[in-house]
């Protein structure tokens, strides 16, 4: 029994950490139910599935992964999400931060949006 190692997030990646008992047949990481995809005889994580089937992840439009997500009543967005993320990284050349990039990671919950300045609207003038 392990914890799901699929990386979630777009700007900063962090592991899913949901309980997991199976591994991806491609990259061998632990994967939870939410991030598991059947690809023929193989069981793949969302990332490997998105890489294996780039043709399924067109941007919005009829028949696109987003259209399928809508038609599936917005259930289980991981099929759309990982394809979208892959497309975004490919088109923007953005390299996300990883948990290991931070030396003194110290999470604090319930932070408020703090700002020394008066926060007027962006469109005041």
């Amino acid at each position: 029994m392990g914890k799901c190692e699929v990386k979630k997030g777009i700007f900063v990646l962090s592991a899913c950490n949901n309980p997991s008992s199976i591994k991806c047949d491609e990259c061998l990481i632990f994967i939870c139910d939410k991030h598991t995809h059947q690809d023929g005889a193989k069981v793949l994580c969302s990332e490997c599935f998105a890489k294996a089937h780039p043709e399924k992840f067109q941007t919005m439009g009829k028949g696109s992964a987003y259209d399928q997500w809508e038609n599936n009543y917005y259930r289980n967005y991981s099929f759309w999400y990982f394809g979208m993320r892959q497309n975004f990284y490919h088109s923007s050349n953005y390299h996300p931060f990883n948990e290991t990039d931070y030396s003194g990671f110290n999470q604090q919950n319930n932070l408020d949006f703090t700002d020394d300045q008066e926060s007027g609207s962006f469109f005041d003038s």
Binding site: F11, M60, Q107, F113, T114, S119, F122, F123
Partner: protein
């Protein structure tokens, strides 16, 4: 009302019904709750949009059949019964379309907010709350008119220009890395009603729309996690007590109300701000 839409409508809670009525929501909820809140509404909106398109096509067909029946009734008077039947059918269908219109949300809900809520959920802690104000009402309603002008042409073409202001999204959220993100979106719309006289003397009208999606973003990076790397010229930098703050404004132009803000471009703006810092 149509069955699948009624089914979803009957499952909505009080807060969701209020949103259906007012088309505005202003609340601070956990990300998972925001998605649960919007999910049936987006689903209902998609079914509604598809249904209204089909019904509108049906209305056009009924109108055509009515015109044909009217002409045929001169030769065959019993066609008047067909005409009456079609007229009743037309009235019923128009009433149904109007009922569906009352349940309609702007396409910003399905095409931007739903996917963006998913992105924010994956980017945040389980317990993190997002403060969101979202206006899903029609962008070109009378309440949103800034001004309206008519050109001074005596003849044709006549041009009536109407300017609308529609601030529709305001969100504040703290992401899992402690970064505080604030986004404001406002649409400024120019609508031109152009009436021309063609070479044959026929008078024709056309409507042109141009939408400027104004995006404002403010992002605060914690100083104990990030240091400045390089400041992109598209961002204004401000050093505040515990944060590196970046502000930026962008404009995205579109020509149809059926579309929303380009989702990838918004992700691009946020990722560009992350490129101003590096992890400590």
């Amino acid at each position: 009302m149509s069955n699948p839409i009624i089914k979803i409508y009957n499952t909505l809670d009080q807060e969701q019904l209020q949103f259906v009525q007012s088309k505005v929501v202003d609340n601070s909820l956990k990300m998972k709750r925001w998605i649960e809140f919007m999910q049936p509404l987006a689903q209902m909106d998609k079914l509604n949009d598809d249904r209204r398109k089909r019904k509108s096509a049906g209305l056009v067909l009924i109108a055509i059949l009515m015109v044909i029946s009217l002409f045929l009734s001169f030769a065959f008077p019993w066609f008047l019964f067909v005409l009456s039947f079609l007229a009743i059918l037309l009235i019923i269908q128009i009433k149904k379309v109007n009922k569906l219109k009352r349940l309609d949300f702007s396409n910003h809900l399905r095409l931007f907010l739903m996917p963006f809520l998913v992105v924010l959920k994956e980017e945040s802690d389980e317990e993190a709350k997002a403060k969101i104000k979202f206006d899903a009402s029609p962008a070109m309603s009378n309440k949103k008119i800034l001004k309206s002008t008519n050109d001074n042409n005596q003849g044709y073409p006549k041009v009536k220009t109407t300017f609308f202001s529609h601030p529709w999204f305001d969100a504040e959220v703290v992401l899992a890395d402690g970064t505080a993100l604030k986004l404001e979106f406002a649409d400024f719309i120019v609508k031109k009603n152009i009436t021309k006289r063609g070479s044959s003397g026929k008078i024709k009208s056309k409507v042109k729309i141009k939408i400027k999606h104004n995006i404002g973003m403010k992002i605060n990076f914690r100083k104990d996690k990030y240091q400045l790397q390089n400041t992109n010229k598209n961002f204004a930098y401000n050093e505040i007590t515990d944060y590196h703050q970046f502000r930026t404004k962008h404009k995205i132009i579109s020509y149809s109300l059926d579309q929303s803000v380009n989702f990838n471009q918004v992700l691009g703006i946020i990722s560009a701000s992350y490129q101003n810092v590096k992890a400590i």
